[in-house]
Subunit: 283 residues, 2 copies
């Protein structure tokens, strides 16, 4: 990779930032596809985030930002415009600097998730989905499911008020296709999505009673983990189609590139994401 | 070069910025010497400079800034502390972010110039120097000459008030070793330094009457030019030792690296600058 005075600069903002993979993944892709751009990490404390975003994006060769923990929520209030998924989910994971200096925020977590479903051969149109967890992941996934054609999305959360708050936002555009699930019973759903953090620690109770998942239904556990989670293992033992969250990350890559004005590269990668899967593979 | 989440990020600030060489030069050196750091260009308009510097340096993995045209003067007022040469010259070309978030500014143009003299075999101690031009280059060179042991430095400028203003600043630390030269007569000087822009355009009159330069004296023309300037050619014809400004750039490189906390790399390069000369060679 050759950085010169003409290189467009992108940044990934987080705190901590040492763990981020975006510089390795995207710089590799930029080099392979002959794009004069670079991604660098920026360790920005939350207290300094607003000033950093406002002033750093004054640099005219900055193309945009990747946003990671803990800044996704705060960015919603720091960009000039948000796409609908970012607005509903209350989170931004990409910021684009336009030519006139204005900024657009977007959230690709949920889009990546839905594109992952297609990759698994799951046809979403009209299907009934149970989303477990109304945190950041649950917000992003539920909003995208409804935008991309799910028939009905029920959200369950241990503290029901969080589920109710999310569903109330979802209803603004999805109306009666969104609802609260008062318990985690998976009966009657075509797709169950675990967006809780249950299963991260050994000995955690499973977030759903696997024995009650209908035969022929599909489960996705969005927990990012090198090993299959206990939930995924339990499903496999019962013969239920179950997928990890990894593909959600993979499928976001072309979305970011399109958003940042690199449509050709996005299209080439979308046709064959095997290179992206290798780059993102857990180490 | 591999950029990861742990990489220290440096920036070069200018407007325009497409022409800067720092990313190519320093990224090559970082890679060769196994330093986990990267330099990226930042095209920052003057109106946005103050906010950019204050807020971008909040990112804790930013190591510092290289400063180029037109921002060198403004940076003096935007850092917490300036080294004496930067203060006298009223210009900064390097900003370091310290661990506690405070910033130090420094100016290496003049230091690079004086180290270049050593490289040419010119012993500065006690010598009489005529500096032609009281712009940015003249300020940096005159201040460093006095700090590094010149016996007397006279400054000439077409509008004498600029020369007087510079000399008045120089006298604060150099006392009677600094003075104004009312004309450009080189008689009686051991070293003549052209810091004017005369000689950039073909047909420009020479900034000094070469026939009056004493035999055995030395001239340096700090104009950066791929070809020898008319002034250098005229000196060569008269057998006067004359050197271009290129070495001034070369000799700054170890200074920057030491300032940015990379003393080992600085020491290795200082012992053999041939690699740096190749990297900086005009294209």
């Amino acid at each position: 990779m050759k950085i010169t005075g003409t290189t467009r600069v992108f940044m990934i903002l987080g705190d901590p930032v040492a763990q981020v993979r975006a510089p390795e993944v995207y710089n590799h892709l930029f080099e392979r596809h002959g794009v004069d751009a670079v991604v660098v990490p920026m360790k920005v404390p939350a207290a300094d985030l607003a000033g950093f975003v406002r002033h750093t994006l004054k640099a005219q060769n900055v193309g945009g930002l990747w946003i990671t923990i803990p800044h996704k929520g705060a960015l919603v209030g720091l960009v000039d415009r948000c796409d609908p998924l970012a607005s509903i989910a209350g989170a931004v994971n990409a910021v684009r600097r336009n030519e006139d200096g204005s900024t657009d925020g977007a959230l690709f977590d949920g889009v990546g998730f839905v594109k992952g479903l297609e990759h698994f051969g799951f046809a979403l149109a009209g299907k009934r989905v149970l989303v477990l967890g109304a945190g950041g992941g649950g917000h992003a996934v539920a909003a995208a499911l409804l935008q991309r054609g799910a028939g009905f999305v029920a959200v369950h959360n241990r503290s029901l008020d969080r589920a109710e708050a999310l569903v109330s936002r979802l209803k603004d555009s999805a109306g009666p296709r969104a609802g609260v699930a008062e318990n985690a019973d998976p009966s009657g759903y075509d797709l169950i999505v675990n967006c809780t953090s249950q299963g991260l620690k050994p000995g955690d109770p499973l977030p759903v009673d696997v024995s009650r998942i209908p035969a022929g239904s599909t489960l996705v556990d969005i927990i990012m983990s090198r090993e299959p989670t206990p939930l995924l293992k339990a499903c496999a033992e019962r013969g239920i189609a179950a997928h990890p969250g990894f593909e959600m990350l993979v499928q976001q890559v072309p979305e970011y590139l399109r958003f940042f004005g690199m449509p050709q590269m996005a299209q080439i990668l979308q046709q064959d994401l095997s290179e992206v899967r290798e780059l993102l593979a857990p180490r």
